[in-house]
């Protein structure tokens, strides 16, 4: 796996799209910090943009990458190595390069603005962890989609829909449900629904370190327990790890039975 991963990473890290991605976040971070001149505001703005852009880029760029490298994958499949080895290698190559690009783009401006010695350093690290996780999860979705269908147009359609669903439609339905059933206790429901969507989950993880604690008490006892103690971080982290594995394991399952 490492061999495939290595060359896949070589390939990716020389891609102009990856450079563009790095540059984008460098400029965004820098602009946020420059305009606000405040790490905390810079961080919250970056959070909003990252939660939107990173899943989108991961899934679209990922689907594109897996479709484009299809013939090369065929060539690799004829070599004396396991299928899953090839697929995992490519998956890690893609997600690692995207993650590196994201980290590099944001770390430089934030370090220049002194995030390491600031009181939001932990929040910042949490943001990076959460967004990198999202990158891995959505790269996983990308490889899964490319394995499910050989029809590129269909694949891109799925990708965009999945992104739209997870970042937008899901929360809309969620909010609507909360309104419709506002007479009922919805706290456990809310937490569960949040856990079921990796984008929401990543957001909550950052917010646990960022500012949701200041809103504590406004809500009910279950929220208080969840957000006010380590329980929240524990449950969210465990669920996030589950999400990290889920698309990859599914992809491997599909990949094993697939006819190339």
């Amino acid at each position: 796996m490492f061999k495939v991963f290595k060359y896949s990473l070589f390939d990716q890290t020389r891609s102009k799209w990856i450079y563009l991605y790095t540059l984008f976040f460098f400029l965004v971070s820098y602009a946020m910090l420059y305009l606000n001149n405040d790490l905390m505001s810079g961080l919250t703005n970056l959070l909003n943009i990252s939660l939107l852009i990173c899943p989108l880029v991961s899934i679209i760029f990922g689907t594109m990458y897996f479709y484009n490298s299809r013939e090369f994958t065929d060539l690799l499949l004829a070599q004396p190595i396991k299928r899953t080895t090839i697929l995992l290698g490519q998956y890690f190559g893609l997600s690692s390069s995207l993650s590196l690009a994201y980290l590099l783009g944001n770390l430089i401006p934030f370090i220049l603005y002194g995030v390491i010695v600031s009181d939001i350093f932990i929040s910042f690290i949490m943001l990076l962890i959460a967004v990198v996780s999202l990158t891995f999860i959505f790269s996983g979705f990308a490889i899964m989609i490319s394995l499910i269908t050989d029809n590129r147009i269909k694949g891109f359609g799925f990708s965009i829909f999945l992104w739209l669903f997870m970042t937008f439609i899901y929360d809309g339905i969620f909010l609507l449900t909360l309104f419709l059933f506002s007479d009922y206790p919805m706290e456990i429901f809310s937490i569960s629904v949040t856990m079921l969507n990796p984008v929401d989950l990543a957001r909550i993880l950052i917010m646990l370190k960022l500012d949701i604690t200041s809103m504590l008490g406004y809500t009910g006892a279950v929220f208080n327990k969840f957000f006010g103690s380590e329980t929240g971080i524990m449950i969210s982290s465990i669920t996030l790890i589950f999400w990290l594995f889920m698309p990859v394991i599914l992809s491997m399952k599909i990949g094993k039975r697939k006819d190339f």
């Binding site: 061999k3 495939v4 060359y7 896949s8 070589f10 390939d11 990716q12 020389r14 891609s15 484009n68 490298s69 299809r70 013939e71 090369f72 065929d74 060539l75 690799l76 499949l77 004829a78 070599q79 004396p80 190595i81 396991k82 299928r83 039975r257 697939k258 006819d259 190339f260």
Partner: protein
């Protein structure tokens, strides 16, 4: 050496291979012929484990190899379409495949043969289709394996490269290799093939050498023989 037993494969309702049996024991050049959709590529990919058959078994040196992968170190494969990662160089691709195969053959001979030396340090996205196809051949044939599978090997090769390629194939045959190829180029078949396997709608319609095929179809040359088969079976 390589034996296919009772292989069936269908994609949905479309039956691509139906109980195909095939044995490759002697060295020589085997051409798999057939109209589009007759199952040529599927057959090759089944041998390589890229397509998983619904039914049937494949044996390599008497050992069943379905779901395994180590046997592939004994097979070289030239895929139909040459498309490589955009940002890797030829040299890197060669060393990657060598890495994976854990094998250290001298590829210099092939590189010289196809005159690739000047292109090896360029990123793939800067190479022409023909150059990529030459690299494809190098990648496929740089290992010393008993079986060589070539899927439409001549597509995209310029005449000079084609001559070199034929020369190479003949040489490999001389070295006692089993070479399995699919092609549409009848000339190539006539020129180098020892045995023809003609697939039609997932079945083996004919197996034998060119002379036998001509006898069977009562035609004078291969091209007409094939045309006749296709016509008789409503494929034209």
């Amino acid at each position: 050496m390589l034996e296919i037993r009772n292989i069936s494969k269908s994609y949905g309702k479309l039956k691509v291979l139906e109980s195909v049996d095939m044995t490759f024991n002697d060295s020589g050049i085997y051409s798999i012929l057939g109209p589009n959709g007759s199952g040529k590529t599927t057959l090759i990919k089944t041998i390589l484990g890229m397509v998983i058959p619904d039914k049937g078994e494949i044996f390599f040196d008497g050992i069943k190899i379905n779901w395994t992968y180590n046997y592939r170190s004994k097979i070289s494969y030239l895929p139909q379409i040459a498309n490589f990662p955009d940002n890797l160089t030829g040299r890197e691709l060669i060393s990657m495949i060598k890495d994976i195969r854990n094998s250290n053959l001298n590829e210099e001979y092939l590189i010289n043969l196809f005159d690739l030396k000047n292109h090896l340090d360029k990123n793939m996205k800067h190479l022409s289709g023909g150059t990529k196809q030459k690299l494809n051949v190098v990648l496929a044939l740089m290992f010393d394996t008993p079986i060589i599978i070539l899927d439409e090997p001549t597509a995209g090769l310029d005449p000079v490269a084609l001559i070199s390629f034929k020369k190479l194939i003949k040489e490999l045959k001389k070295r006692g290799k089993i070479i399995i190829l699919t092609t549409h180029i009848i000339n190539l078949v006539e020129e180098i093939t020892d045995k023809i396997i003609f697939l039609l709608e997932g079945n083996i319609y004919f197996k034998g050498n060119i002379r036998e095929l001509l006898e069977k179809t009562e035609e004078n040359n291969l091209e007409e023989a094939i045309a006749k088969i296709l016509k008789e079976n409503g494929n034209v």
